[in-house]
């Protein structure tokens, strides 16, 4: 086919705006709004008792980013209703990645959504965890031969806990929270550090399928 125009997000182009006192201000969003610094590995506290205390606190306050993909997002809403009541496990939803520490990838991810998921994940602050629901995130599920959905999530972002099923019911997701808590308390939920250590590999995999890469390599 013929060459396609690459669509550049107009919000990300360099431009001049007029300030409050009438002066010209040059804005380059890629430089000004995002940070190009690479992610850093989180070093544990030297005394183990402090690290254990922090891990306990992290495990008991899991704040979930309200980011729904695929069919699993509809399974997340009942979690907050009185019947399942995830709040008694210290789980609550947050509207912005800056306040959340758990990202739930709730089902299949199209390439277009993966781009947004990666941006949201990178905007979350350490320590951060990823839970993947459903067989679609494990091996592609019923969309294994689709031209547009990824097969394995762990090639693009580090996954701390998988909840299998198609789709997992809210009880299974609660069990997933419990499994994640155990991992955090044992100090094994090291997804963010894995991401920082293998940053080049993850970026190479992401850029292989996201063809219109018009964002900085790391944005937080």
């Amino acid at each position: 086919m013929e060459d396609k125009k690459t669509f550049i997000d107009p919000d990300l182009t360099k431009r001049t705006v007029i300030g409050p006192n009438g002066e010209d201000i040059t804005v380059d969003p890629i430089q000004d709004y995002f940070c190009d610094a690479l992610p850093k590995k989180h070093e544990p506290k030297r005394a183990k008792i402090f690290e254990n205390f922090f891990n306990w606190a992290r495990a008991e306050s899991i704040w979930v980013l309200g980011f729904g993909t695929g069919c699993g997002s509809i399974e997340l809403y009942p979690l907050l209703t009185p019947r399942f009541d995830a709040y008694r496990f210290g789980v609550q939803m947050r509207p912005t990645p800056r306040q959340a520490n758990l990202m739930i990838i709730s089902g299949y991810l199209s390439v277009k959504t993966l781009k947004r998921a990666i941006r949201s994940y990178e905007q979350m602050q350490n320590p951060k965890f990823v839970m993947a629901l459903g067989s679609c995130t494990i091996n592609g599920g019923m969309y294994f031969d689709s031209y547009n959905t990824i097969n394995r999530l762990d090639k693009y972002m580090p996954v701390d806990v998988y909840v299998a099923g198609c789709m997992p019911r809210p009880e299974a997701i609660l069990a997933g929270f419990e499994a994640l808590k155990k991992r955090i308390k044992a100090g094994k939920a090291e997804g963010a550090n894995l991401y920082a250590e293998n940053f080049e590999t993850y970026k190479a995999n992401q850029k292989k399928i996201i063809r219109d890469w018009n964002m900085p390599d790391y944005n937080w």
Binding site: M1, K5, K112, I138, F144, N151, R152, R211
Partner: protein
């Protein structure tokens, strides 16, 4: 409904009429008469609602069959105006001036099948596939499994069975 079909046959060169139900007809016309026929249905016969623009890929015949399905709220009836266009040089007249929803349908058809709609607003912007550089994925010559295996990372160990033989082995192994 029969009267409307008769009006269509009188005004346009109708090649085929297929009655699916009492309230659903498929009317096949030539490529240049499809948009005038849809315009006539909208303006003169009260088919004011565009249900969808959809396309079927007939690779064996070398054509795309475009369907413009319109709905009449008074009659609770649908008519689909069908037309065949050449598959290799897929170009169709745009319907963006009739309904604004047609913009999005045509944008999607451009992306998924590579059908050109000259003059349609924003038709060149990407819709679902951002930065797609292969042949349009809904064309039947596109091998999705091969593409997925090359592009994504298939997890080894996936097996698939023919459902009939597999169920027979599981349920009636001795027969």
């Amino acid at each position: 409904m029969e009267k409307i079909i008769q009006h269509l046959q009188g005004a346009f060169d109708v090649k085929a009429v297929k009655k699916q139900r009492n309230d659903l007809y498929f009317v096949t016309v030539g490529k240049d008469q499809a948009i005038p026929a849809v315009t006539y249905l909208r303006d003169a016969e009260g088919f004011s609602h565009l249900v969808m623009i959809t396309v079927a890929d007939w690779m064996e015949k070398g054509v795309f069959e475009l369907n413009y399905i319109v709905h009449n709220y008074q009659l609770h009836a649908d008519i689909s105006i069908c037309t065949n266009i050449d598959r290799e040089e897929a170009t169709m007249h745009s319907a963006h001036h009739l309904w604004e929803q047609a913009w999005t349908y045509q944008r999607e058809l451009k992306e998924m099948y590579g059908i050109e709609f000259p003059g349609s607003p924003r038709v060149d912007e990407s819709f679902n596939l951002e930065g797609w550089d292969n042949i349009p994925p809904m064309r039947r010559e596109f091998d999705t499994l091969k593409y997925a295996n090359e592009t994504f990372f298939p997890r080894p160990g996936r097996v698939s069975h023919d459902p009939a033989t597999y169920m027979k082995q599981k349920l009636y192994p001795n027969e």
